[in-house]
Amino acid sequence: MSKDSVEITDSGQRVILDIVLNMIVPPSADGRMPGAAEVGVPAYLVAEAADALPLLRQELEQIERRSRERFARGFAELEQGERKNLIGEMRAQASAFMHRLAMETLACYYQHERVVEGLGREARAPYPKGYQVVPGDLSLLEPVRARGKIYRDAP
């Protein structure tokens, strides 16, 4: 099983999850940045946020149920604006869960190699290569030196 195909939901819920993930971080218009549905969030959730999985399944069910009640269609069949309204309501009403989902998604997304490379950086661990940092212009200290001592003497 590949990382991206980890089954934390049934196939219908997976479709809903992917839509929601891309609502959090969509693919960039220029194709440089993937959408959040493309970076293995389900596997990440299993590894890093297993405690949230039961609630995730409940919330995905809730999204589908609300969609059918409101629009008489499944969430996957809704227009973009309809999805946005429905998820907006969920964010207002189930804010803690939706916030958690967003935070976990962002953590997974912004450490994925495609994303890091899309940001123009090497997708690697900081160690051992490290990074170069400009030393800085110490002539900026001249006015500080010129003002002189600012600490108090103590008895």
Binding site: M33, E113, G136, Y151, A154, P155
Partner: protein
């Protein structure tokens, strides 16, 4: 029963390591018990691509989040600031920022100069040689000539300012305010067998390079070669005393939970401002019903945490602000000394920190509503990533007996030892100081041309500096230990950590904690013939 020792140190962190190193030349039998383990640098987050997530999980500075077997829980529900620490060889230096400013001479004379709290029984001049010694042993980087301090010369060149440091320097200059490259416990070039810093960035999750000066790689290797024994995964339950009020040793649990008795001629506490009072309060006996060495009633009282504010600004120019040691760059002590016109006494240090990694940039931006879900996400992220800088406000809080470490009635660690409970609030003076600092931090951000500025304080996850809970002083009724760390009540019990601070100053305390430990070791060595008189 284990073999008796002359000196038993409890805790292998900043103070315990420095003390052990200094005492090693006595050739006494010295043993240190540490509840944590040795760290393997290969395990540090910076060796992995997912370093940002690892920092928040198993390398979180909050023991209640980290929850390693060697950690003990802390009930911090009655405090706006959470206690942060690390349990292992190296103690909290493993995860500290390595920001290493000294206090000012005035910090030791708070009562005389400002009419508040108490003076320390020692002064800056007494400790200065020990600061210098510690700078050399740890490997401290900086730039001599800072007009905010008496002259001193860090042994290593300062950490790079980067574009972020230069940007803020121009902001401070525009306002005519002090700034200076921070003293930093980082080897900026090869030093004492350690490789130079290569700017990995996440210093606060352990340094895989070994450039950050953590005591597991500075003091401990030398101390052990000199004969000091260090025993890990040993959690002390209580200190024992005889009917003459002398400590006789400790009871501890090993990694398997097996109970041991370790006898010692001298017991030295180095568990810092929460661990030390916790152990003393857990060491009750018929002679010390309120906790060991607590006839003053001050063990666990006067907790000081350095309430912390944070101002963050975003700049138009790309600054690569995520590069460089995360929390060490430049500082400003423009508002460090007392000026009563500000509406409070004492002052604060401004610590310029660098930008955040991509995960933290995105999470904070989305949580604040600055970076949206969906359309516009990538554009808003790009406007912030690598373009943000922070200014931390480290406030001196004064000692107050209502701020305490006590024993939680129900919470226990994995060995069943009662856990600490923190009760803490900010005083009105500190609240005013914090507000002033957040306003000045905003002002310097504006002067540096930041366009999106926000501030917050006190920041909850900033309780690194655990001070004052077994204060030193000459009066046994007003202090727990004397001017050289010896308990007033138990003549062979010493405390060498942040607990003994009389006041907190407004700077990171590790240099002072270590200078004090070295000073106390020297006094003990000079008094060996009559140490208990």
């Amino acid at each position: 029963m284990t073999k008796d020792v002359d000196v038993l140190i409890i805790g292998a962190g900043a103070s315990g390591a420095a003390f052990a190193w200094s005492m090693a030349d006595t050739r006494m039998r010295i043993l240190c018990l540490e509840q944590g383990d040795w760290m393997n640098p290969a395990d540090y987050p910076s060796t992995r691509r997912d370093w940002e997530v690892r920092m928040d999980r198993e390398f979180s500075p909050n023991p209640n989040i980290r929850r390693r077997p060697e950690d003990y829980p802390v009930n911090d529900s009655d405090s706006p600031i959470s206690v942060l620490n690390f349990n292992g060889v190296g103690g909290s230096t493993i995860l500290y920022a390595a920001h290493f400013p000294r206090p000012h001479p005035s910090d030791f004379r708070v009562r005389s100069l400002d009419g508040v709290a108490d003076d320390w029984p020692i002064d800056y001049a007494t400790l200065e040689p020990y600061y210098a010694l510690n700078d050399r042993q740890m490997g401290v980087a900086g730039l001599a000539g800072d007009p905010a301090y008496p002259p001193h010369e860090p042994p290593l060149p300062h950490v790079p300012l980067g574009l972020a440091g230069e940007t803020m320097a121009r902001g401070f200059n525009a306002l005519g305010w002090h700034w200076w490259p921070s003293d930093t416990a980082i080897a900026t070039r090869d030093y004492a067998g350690r490789a130079a810093c290569v700017n990995l960035g996440p210093c606060k999750s352990g340094c895989a390079q070994g450039a950050k000066s953590t005591v597991d790689i500075t003091y401990w290797p030398v101390a052990r070669r000199a004969g000091v024994q260090l025993r890990t995964r040993c959690r002390v339950r209580e200190i024992l005393v005889d009917d003459k009020d002398m400590a006789t040793g400790v009871v501890y649990y090993d990694e398997l939970g097996v109970e041991h008795l370790q006898r010692a001629e001298v017991v030295v506490l180095a568990c810092n401002g929460v661990g030390t009072p916790r152990l003393l309060l857990n060491s009750r006996s018929a002679r010390f019903p309120d906790g060991l060495a607590n006839r003053s009633g001050l063990v666990g009282k006067n907790l000081m945490l350095h309430p912390w504010g944070m101002v963050r600004g975003t700049f138009d120019a790309p600054l690569e602000s995520y590069l460089g040691p995360l929390s060490c760059c430049i500082l400003s002590q423009q508002f460090y000394e007392t000026d009563r016109n500000r509406g409070f006494v004492r002052g604060y240090n401004m610590q310029v920190t660098r930008g955040l990694g991509p995960v933290a940039t995105a999470r904070i931006g989305v949580a604040r509503g600055d970076i949206p879900w969906g359309e516009g996400h990538h554009e808003a992220f790009a406007r912030r990533y690598g373009r943000q800088i922070g200014v931390g406000i480290c406030c001196e809080d004064l000692p107050e007996e209502c701020n305490t470490v006590t024993l939680d009635p129900t919470l226990k660690d994995t060995n069943g030892i009662p856990a600490p409970k923190i009760t803490y609030r900010l005083s009105e003076n500190t609240e005013r100081m914090l507000r002033h600092g957040l306003e000045r931090g905003t002002e310097v951000m504006q002067a540096a041309s930041a366009w999106d500025i926000y501030s917050d304080g006190p920041v909850r996850q900033t309780g690194w500096h655990l001070l004052g809970t077994a204060r030193m002083g000459e009066d046994p009724g007003r202090s727990v230990v004397n001017a050289w760390g010896r308990s007033h009540d138990v003549k062979n019990l010493f405390i060498i950590d942040g607990s003994v601070f009389v006041t907190s100053g407004g700077v990171n305390p590790t240099p002072t904690i270590q200078a004090m430990a070295l000073y106390i070791a020297d006094v003990m060595k000079q008094r060996l013939a009559n140490l208990f008189d």
